[in-house]
């Protein structure tokens, strides 16, 4: 299809937009603007095609319906305060579904590299760190949308989740923060692996160990000593701990959990931003 003959470009295109001088406030505002923009793109994509939301809801649903129900009945796993195992499991599955979304963001960035999208984004006046932070929070937005489906499903299955709106907002922030870290981890690996095939293999190799070495399925105290040590280094454990504290009221170390997640996310952003030029080369 061809267009009509080109006409005179409208006056709106005559001059570039005027910009304020770079000050720390302007730089921070620009970072916030980039994050908002990339989150906006993610929401638009979800709005245009919700298929992924539905298909991605299947796996957590199976974990809750099959694994959760069975282990609740056999009482094989001790839970704090004797709460039903399904209630104990729900925040873990919520964190898992967010992890599975975020860990493949590296593949998305390699696809964007192969399609030329990344190159074009890198020629905009967007610092590398802002681009990565924006993408990390976009992963967070997608994960929060997904997590909402898991929360609703958990409520339908009779899990007594908090109805405190502040705690629910806090849980959404924890999900977003955890996803931001894991997407940065994935984008860092993408900057090292540089190909989709390699990243698929690495992604599959690390996802399940991350999940099983966290406290998502069982309390840390029943793990063998070596696994406890790994679990304490695994940011997923801190995410799950915070989610349990906020959603089902188990004792949690919210301050420590948030500190670990924030520090891990900042480190992830730094590492993947440093490796981003390798992808564009």
């Amino acid at each position: 299809m061809t267009s009509a003959a080109p006409g005179a470009p409208p006056a709106a295109l005559a001059e570039p937009a005027l910009l304020p001088v770079d000050t720390p406030v302007v730089v921070l505002r620009r970072l916030a603007s980039r994050i908002a923009t990339l989150c906006w793109v993610e929401l638009r994509k979800i709005r245009h095609d919700r298929t992924e939301l539905y298909t991605r809801a299947i796996q957590p649903a199976l974990w809750l319906l099959i694994y959760g129900e069975v282990f609740t009945k056999i009482h094989a796993i001790p839970t704090p305060g004797g709460i039903p195992y399904l209630a104990y499991l729900a925040p873990g599955i919520l964190a898992q579904s967010a992890l599975f979304i975020a860990i493949f963001y590296g593949i998305q960035i390699i696809w964007e590299r192969d399609a030329g999208v990344l190159t074009k984004l890198m020629v905009t006046p967007t610092p590398r760190a802002a681009l990565i932070t924006g993408k990390a929070f976009a992963a967070g937005v997608r994960s929060v949308v997904q997590a909402t489906a898991v929360v609703i499903l958990s409520a339908i299955l009779g899990v007594a989740l908090t109805d405190n709106p502040l705690k629910l907002i806090g849980a959404a922030c924890v999900v977003a923060l955890g996803s931001a870290f894991f997407s940065c981890l994935s984008m860092t690996i993408a900057g090292l692996a540089l190909s989709r095939d390699r990243l698929m293999g690495i992604g599959q190799a690390i996802t399940m160990p991350l999940f099983f070495s966290s406290s998502a399925l069982y309390p840390e105290k029943i793990m063998p000593g070596w696994l406890q040590a790994i679990s304490r280094c695994n940011p997923l454990s801190y995410q799950v701990d915070a989610l349990r504290g906020l959603l089902i009221g188990t004792p949690a170390h919210l301050g420590l959990d948030l500190t670990v997640l924030i520090v891990a996310t900042v480190a992830g952003v730094t590492a993947s931003a440093a490796l981003l030029p390798r992808l564009a080369r």
Binding site: S3, P9, P16, R44, K45, D114, T119, P125
Partner: protein, 302 residues
């Protein structure tokens, strides 16, 4: 390097054999001083390991002209473009874009340029309007002007009517025009096009070029492009540079470069003359990445 002055064919000074470096003619230099050049590269060099992709390239592009960078695959065109657009930092040499140093102020340089890469880079899962709005946001177009600029960019590329459709439903030519609309939303002073019509059918190619030519004529925008289509370079470029094995071998207007080879010479002849005319197995010419990239683009265009 051979530099041909902007004068009649009788004054052409193209040489054959060993490339000789020549300073730009005085008239051209004087004009550049008066208006300031859009792009000035000096001693530009980039290496991938031991392979020198760009080897001490000197280049001057004047404001308002359409400049073509031609050469076989692996000649160093895309690496040069990547350095100009700040994607790669030169290992040696300097780049000035509209008087701004690309290595010292890359963010400012990015604000001055609009870039359309070789690959089809519009996001197929968004609508045309959303694709343009994304770039308006990334270029910090103020919210009060954003809608007008987005609509103006779409209108300039004849995409107002399909702007609400998801891009995966667009034809190849429409996607290319959409990418131009994205590049235009910040009213760039320099538009960089890396093989903008690769994979397009002849009608879509003409359509894209008509839009580019109209924009350039009315906005006094400088256009830097690479292409493998000699007819496009001949028709639309004020000047071209022929690049081979990382070096610029000749620069001048298409007419003058042709005139140096004879009255009936075509730009294809000029291309063969300066690039050796054969596939060079000793360089990364037509490497698998180039071929794969071109095929990927062609496949996406259908």
């Amino acid at each position: 390097m051979t530099e041909l002055p902007e004068a009649g064919p009788g004054t052409a000074t193209a040489t054959s054999g060993a490339p000789a470096r020549a300073m730009p003619p005085l008239a051209e230099a004087a004009r550049a001083d008066k208006r300031g050049s859009a792009v000035v590269c000096s001693g530009l060099t980039y290496r991938f390991g031991t392979y020198t992709a760009v080897d001490h390239v000197d280049l001057r592009i004047e404001r308002g002209e359409t400049f073509g960078l031609l050469g076989p695959n692996g000649a160093g065109k895309t690496t040069t473009i990547r350095m100009l657009t700040t994607l790669l930092r030169p290992m040696a040499g300097t780049i000035s874009v509209l008087g701004v140093s690309a290595s010292e102020r890359p963010m400012l340089v990015r604000r001055l340029i609009g870039y359309v890469p070789q690959l089809l880079s519009a996001d197929a899962t968004l609508t045309g309007r959303e694709n343009v709005e994304l770039f308006a946001r990334l270029f910090d177009v103020p919210r009060s002007q954003r809608r007008a600029r987005v609509e103006a960019s779409l209108a300039a590329m004849g995409l107002t009517e399909p702007a609400g459709r998801i891009v995966k439903t667009y034809s190849g030519g429409m996607i290319r025009r959409l990418e131009l609309a994205q590049a235009l939303v910040n009213a760039p002073s320099l538009l960089v096009l890396d093989e903008p019509t690769v994979g397009l059918d002849p009608i879509a190619r003409t359509d894209v070029w008509e839009h580019i030519a109209a924009l350039r004529a009315q906005n006094d925008m400088t256009v830097l492009m690479t292409t493998h289509y000699m007819d496009e370079a001949d028709t639309y470029c004020n000047r071209i540079a022929l690049m081979h094995a990382g070096s610029i071998r000749a620069t001048g207007s298409p007419g003058l470069l042709k005139a140096t080879l004879g009255v009936s010479a075509t730009l294809d002849d000029v291309f063969r003359h300066y690039t050796g005319g054969t596939l060079d197995d000793n360089t990364e010419s037509g490497g698998i990445r180039d071929v794969r990239r071109a095929r990927r683009t062609a496949r996406r265009l259908g």
